[in-house]
Amino acid sequence: MPESSSKKMSLMGLTTLVTVNMMGSGIIMLPTSMAQLGAVSLLSWIVTAVGSMAIAYCFSQCGIYCPRSGGLSAYTEEAHARSGFFLCSYLYFLSLAIANVAVAISAVGYMTSFVPWLGSGAIPLFIGTVGLLWLTTVANFGGPGITGKIGAITVWGVIIPVAGLSIIGWFWFKPDVLIAAWNPNDLPISDAIGKAIPLTLWAFLGMESAAQASDAVEDPKRTVPLACLFGTLGAAVVYVLSTTVIQGIIPNAELANSSAPFALVYAHMFNPTVGNIIMALAVMACVGSLLGWQFTLAQTAKMTADQGMFLKLFAKVSSRDAPIVGMLVCGVLQTLLALSTISPNASAQFGKLVSLAAVTNLIPYVTAATGLLVMMYKAKVSTGVYTRNTTLLLIAVAYSLYALYACGKDAVFGGTLVLVFGYLLYGFLAKRFVDPSPTAQTRADNP
């Protein structure tokens, strides 16, 4: 596709997109939930960071061998054919459509410390959520180049508070505070680690957003694999350092009961004003991540529509390469989902959808990563590369399966129903991909 590259996203832009997508909304409360279990929970990073890096590695390998448009769905098609492409897109699209609404609700929750009105009831929450969803939808109308540039600003909302803490926090770090926080509930170590893994198990979901943007970046064959690896690695380093250093600055009891741990630690190191600025930055990062996710959602729909598997309207792009019509449709869909904030009962139901969305995010990991086996076969890679990649692939799939298992019965149950429903949808689509070949006639001779 010969298009001017100024409209496209650079390697830097895509890497920040991946990091912000991953950390933007999840990091804000992470130190609190880890502190409730104690500093022993830091050990869980060993498992989750390694497993997640294996997945990121597989995706980046897929990106090298399969540079075509389609992201996870294209990787999936390598091993699981066209229905795999559709199901992957369908599951992933649902996951993002739901998750983005939830991210908007969280962001509004964090904003209440600046705009108390937003927290004064169900209607303000709804208005705030819908407002944020549309703000981040419209901000994507400028095309991928603009999205990347806005992302380059909002990423500072993560860099300053979180990455900054990983560096300067060590001057305030006291080993005895960390030791005192080690295991406040006096759990047996194996129990504590078992309980801690779920805190960080899903923290890396989002590493695939590099692949989903392959249509919108410069030189995808190089940019996508590197952004996937660097983005995930960066997130891992920052996650581990920041959640470690914070537990050595703030005493455990205080941290475990904080609704804004990063603001708390900066207020402790400097003063409450700095704490408030940090909270504002964290909110900015959260909104920035929502922007990135809305972009990824529209891109996923566009790539799938390009293959003739989603409605054509998702594929229509503006002169600046933005699938505006598709974004509008997603916005309307999400506005309907956001209605759930109005009643507590509907919120509880929406909470179940959010859990289900994690499942439909993880199934494509397995289908996409396993595509690598076919890609390596086609590319006739050396035995050394094959062995290395297959080993990492097995780790990645094992990790994905464990993450799926840990989602729990309810979420996996719902996710499975959604998956099976996808087969019905594909049944209606499949005739589009039938080759009119003479072999279809042979059945007539064979009653």
Binding site: T32, S33, S106, L201, S259, V354, C407
Partner: protein
């Protein structure tokens, strides 16, 4: 000592020394006999256990205390015994018994070792249960933790709103045993929460109704009583769960075992005869099977 003791002074001193033990021993029963009055202490904000009713008092504890008054009348053979009601506050309820200002505290009170240093307790008269009131629209994580489940089930990922850690405000009556319990439990309850204290049950419920706090912990029957009587309580619900049980008793003077024996005898007879059931029916909404079992446990043979 510069005072030179004369014979007269010595005599006086001897006289005083013989009087002082008698005064310190001025037992409840002696006091009742000399004043011809039994003073029933009660907390006026403890409906349905004890509450002000005109210049009298009423409630479960008061009804039991009146049975004790009857017993005193027959035991001391004082048919003309006066019964006086004396309201006390959280701050002075224990010292009022200790100083003899009241003869018995009728409001059921949980015994503690600290309280036992200054006063004594009857056999249990009621088993208090600590429960909580929330608004009907309480968030799911809060309801989960209050009902003893984990705050959030399912995956915790970027889309999990607040990671399931909603920011809550708990309320509890200041200074009671529940406050100590909540402070100890808050961390293990699994949501981010701060604690505010209130003066009485009605004030706590009001905080919840106004949305200034999210869960109010107090004695279950008192909560139930207020929920049916207060107008602002329509959007509130009482949880089924009882966090802690605590036997509560009447407070009596530490120095008068005879009076305590009289109180315990009266109560044990009420338990054994099943007469206590009337008081339960009148004030506490009837007797449950568990209550019946406990009656047998509490009654001294």
């Amino acid at each position: 000592m510069n005072v030179k003791l004369t014979k007269a002074n010595n005599l006086l001193l001897v006289g005083l020394l013989t009087v002082i033990p008698f005064m310190a021993d001025a037992s409840t029963l002696e006091r009742v006999r000399t004043s011809n009055t039994l003073t029933l202490g009660y907390r006026s904000d403890f409906a349905p256990f004890s509450a002000q009713a005109g210049d009298h008092a009423s409630g479960y504890g008061i009804e039991l205390c009146l049975k004790i008054a009857n017993k005193v009348k027959t035991e001391l053979d004082m048919p003309g015994l006066q019964v006086r009601y004396q309201p006390v506050t959280a701050a002075d309820e224990i010292s009022a018994v200790n100083s003899g200002k009241i003869d018995v505290l009728c409001t059921p009170t949980p015994p503690t070792l600290e309280r036992r240093k200054t006063v004594s307790f009857s056999i249990p008269i009621y088993t208090a249960g600590l429960s909580a009131v929330v608004r009907r629209d309480a968030s799911e994580p809060l309801l989960n933790v209050l009902n003893g489940k984990v705050a959030h089930t399912g995956p915790t990922w970027r889309a999990t709103v607040n990671r399931g850690l909603t920011n809550q405000t708990y309320a509890v009556i200041a200074g009671g045993v529940s406050e100590a319990w909540i402070r100890q439990q808050m961390q293990s309850l699994g949501v981010v929460a701060k604690l505010v204290t209130v003066d009485n049950t009605a004030a706590g419920l009001k905080l919840i109704a106004e949305g200034k706090a999210d869960a109010f912990f107090a004695e279950r029957i008192m909560l139930k009583h207020l929920l049916t009587s207060e107008r602002f309580a329509t959007n509130l619900v009482l949880l089924d769960r009882i966090f802690e049980y605590s036997p509560t008793a009447m407070v009596v003077d530490r120095e008068d075992e005879n009076f305590r024996l009289l109180v315990d005898t009266t109560l044990s007879e009420l338990y054994r005869s099943g007469e206590i059931g009337h008081a339960y029916d009148n004030y506490l909404g009837g007797v449950s099977d568990t209550d019946k079992k406990l009656f047998k446990v509490y009654a001294i043979p």
